[in-house]
């Protein structure tokens, strides 16, 4: 393994990290307020699809914006169901995932080729030429965002209100905080970040949409959140680790002599997730009211 190999591995790792980090950090905001969104996988897929369409209609910036918009709309629906309508968060998330799987596959067929759509490179987000090769500017966003959110949650009044809504909604309600509204805002923010992550995949990174594009990244982001214990900085570290194993899987597949079957390498990120999560739990504590709709007595 030469130095250039290591550099290219690092480059792929950073690229693979972006959707995981953005989605995980957004989910941390949502979970801090008490909403557990298992539908991230579906949001990533939908926003990747919508982002590609947006980019083809009006350039890369519009693509990213459309992706964020779709993330916001889906999360808003999720949040409304699980605050005012007292829904079951897990079931809503499963519904979002099923819907996204069907809708994107359906939409891809309507675009022409079943299960596959190429995004023209002319409408993709430009990549910076650096010493390591071409890098997407969104890597910077993914690296900065966790620090911003960490500051927001730890150091601002709004962050404290968010935490109160997730820990003890009764007390926060008495203090005059509108629990449902703050939860909806948190979920929509999380959805915007997930939508950015999804649009990044199709418009800024892979340059294509397939019906299996998200490939469990939404769930891996959830694992990052569990691993981090709702600390955005640890979530970034988690996203880097999982991104590394995804990059490693891609890299091993390109090796000329197949020493390890591709199936085992593809399995690796998921096994690592399991190992990390089962090692990290125990010291992790989650908001008391996570997953419970708030009802006034």
């Amino acid at each position: 393994m030469s130095f250039t190999d290591i550099l290219s591995l690092l480059r792929i790792t950073l690229h693979a990290m972006v959707p995981l980090a953005l989605t995980a950090v957004g989910e941390i905001v949502g979970e801090t307020a008490g909403l557990f969104n298992i539908g991230l996988e579906g949001i990533l897929l939908l926003s990747a699809f919508a982002g590609a369409l947006g980019a083809e209609a009006g350039g890369p910036a519009l693509g990213l914006l459309v992706g964020m918009g779709v993330g916001a709309v889906v999360s808003f629906l999720f949040a409304i169901i699980n605050t005012y309508w007292k829904g079951t968060q897990m079931v809503t998330g499963i519904g979002i995932n099923l819907f996204a799987m069907g809708f994107v596959a359906f939409g891809l067929i309507q675009l022409g080729a079943p299960g596959f759509h190429d995004v023209p490179s002319s409408v993709e987000v430009i990549k910076w030429r650096t010493g390591m090769g071409s890098m997407s500017p969104l890597i910077i966003v993914a690296l900065v965002m966790p620090f911003l959110i960490h500051w927001f949650l730890k150091r601002t009044r709004a962050g404290l209100m968010l935490k109160a809504a997730g820990e003890m909604p009764e007390a926060a309600d008495v203090a005059g905080i509108n629990i449902n509204r703050i939860r909806i805002m948190a979920a929509v923010f999380g959805g915007i970040l997930a939508g950015l992550g999804g649009a990044y995949m199709s418009v800024a990174w892979l340059g294509l949409v397939t019906k299996g594009l998200s490939a469990g990244r939404g769930f891996i982001s959830l694992a990052c959140v569990v691993f981090s214990g709702l600390n955005p900085l640890l979530a970034l570290l988690g996203a880097f680790i999982f991104g590394f194993f995804q990059a490693l899987a891609e890299w091993v597949k390109t090796l000329p002599n197949k020493t390890i079957p591709g199936e085992f390498v593809s399995m690796l990120p998921y096994i690592v997730t399991l190992l990390v999560v089962s090692g990290a739990i125990g010291r992790v504590r989650f908001p008391k009211a996570l997953g419970v709709p708030y009802k006034r007595e």
Partner: protein, 386 residues
Amino acid sequence: MSGNELRPSSRLRRGAHRTLTGLHPVFESVIAGTVGLLVGAILMYMYGFDPWRAYFALIKGAFGGSYELSSSLARATPLILTALTFSICLRAGMFNIGAEGQMYMGGIASILIAYFVLPRGLHHIVGLLFAALAGAAWGIVPAILKVTRGVSEVISTIMFNWIARWSALYIAIFLIADPLRPERTLSIPVTARFPILVRGTDLSYSIFVAVAFALVIYFVLWHTAIGYEVRAAGLNPTAARYGGIRNKRTMFLAFILGGMGAGLAGASVTMGQPPTYAIFGGGSLTQLLNLGFDGMAVAMVGRNHPIGILFAALFFGGLNAGGRVMQFYGSNPVPLEMVRVVMGAIVLAMSIPELIRLFPMAKAKGEQFIAALKRSTKRGERGESA
């Protein structure tokens, strides 16, 4: 009206009311199903299809005759079993998303009986046993992780789905591939295939395995002490623990029973679905793909009750069978994927517990709004400033 002065007529009304509340879950499922079909219709309309003709084709293709009905029942068979996997664990208070992976393992394990020569009957039993054990073994690991390490079963079962998928692909391609046709696994031998129930269709006796399993689960959950403990632990774990119920035991039991169901679902496809009686490995596990996820939708619409699941599975089996007809229907070919869109919308609607009450709520809100509007216009007419 107070309870003491019940007249026969009001008693009748009470009885009717009680029956209606008893049917409440059924109404909710029907409304959710309608919402899902409506969402599908709107999307079809937006994409330039004719929803009426598409749904006509779908319903005709699902329930239009004995061939169509058999085909729907054949699609329903594995869904009954994977839906039970989700429901048993939900009744025990856990979200088991892992039916997909457990089902892959069951399917792969059932293929292994191709290496044995056994008499008819015994061969079936061994195959089902293999599948059930493999599913249960795959399902028990998340339970162990949850009990010993506190890992959320939602995360671990999802990860196990992916690990199962790649393992199953590896096994199917490299270990048990048919030497003559390497794109698929060995076929289940004739002595272990379920006979066809309705000639000319792909409905086999495997549906009786699914229905029997549903009845067994119903009996275990509602008519045995351990089943009572499972449900009690699911309703309120703390109260159950104070009542002397060992939550870890109920957790393991739910995951084992659920895993068995998912494993049997895999076997019901390999041993009971003509024409190949094998799994296609190359790139995907075509016949098995997504049966576990669709099962969750079935479980939700069946209100996590074994009997409800039987009907819900028939509905979803019908959607799948009818969808196949719909996608080749003359000038209005709606892709099969629309069926999954409808399923997702149904599950979304099912997650709203007060779905029925949303309509009166919306009506009340609307009336309030109109009243407010009238007040403001009256005020405007009188020349007051708002």
